[in-house]
Symmetry: C2
Subunit: 121 residues, 2 copies
Amino acid sequence: MSKINISEKFGLFSEEWTPKIIAQTNGQLVKIAKGSGELVWHQHENEDELFIVFKGHLTLQLRDQIIELSPGEMYIVPKGVEHCPSATPDTHFMMIEPASTKHTGKLESDITVSTEDQEWI
Amino acid sequence: MSKINISEKFGLFSEEWTPKIIAQTNGQLVKIAKGSGELVWHQHENEDELFIVFKGHLTLQLRDQIIELSPGEMYIVPKGVEHCPSATPDTHFMMIEPASTKHTGKLESDITVSTEDQEWI
């Protein structure tokens, strides 16, 4: 493989809440996404989900607390924990999660991207 | 868990080539380390090793190529691939790898930190 410039990868797409895969390591996919506004409440029964923010501001609403992430901050939503991400305009973040992780968990919404349709860039 | 400010975590230690664990997700450990000069040639038989650089410049010598990583760049050394990391003074980087991954693979050198001795910060 070649090295990956994360900033360049963010320049390759503009869709929001549409994770793009940039690498795979030990069965985990490294994904980047842009967000703005609110996604949907969902959970991943069997997978932890790591978020690292690179630009903007990502809010992870949980049922019992709200996590506010600025650039350089990260959080892991443990498996089974309901969460609803929301973001200020043009927020850039990375997620690391198993290849099996579905975009919005069991919930299928209009903005859900199926595992098969998540694109490598 | 609380959110993690990656920069603050780098401020908590000064040792070089001594990975500190900051999080665990899906059986993978998220570690940060500082480096300067050269580590040693080694390999991890069963684990890929993801590197993301935050500050300075990290060089990953492989037997057939040299990967040069500046801040915002990442690379995954595939399992079984020999590598020798080197870095400019005060380079800061993150590694994500399975909890089973040994610091310098099968090689035990003076600077090897055993899996059991890798510290959570």
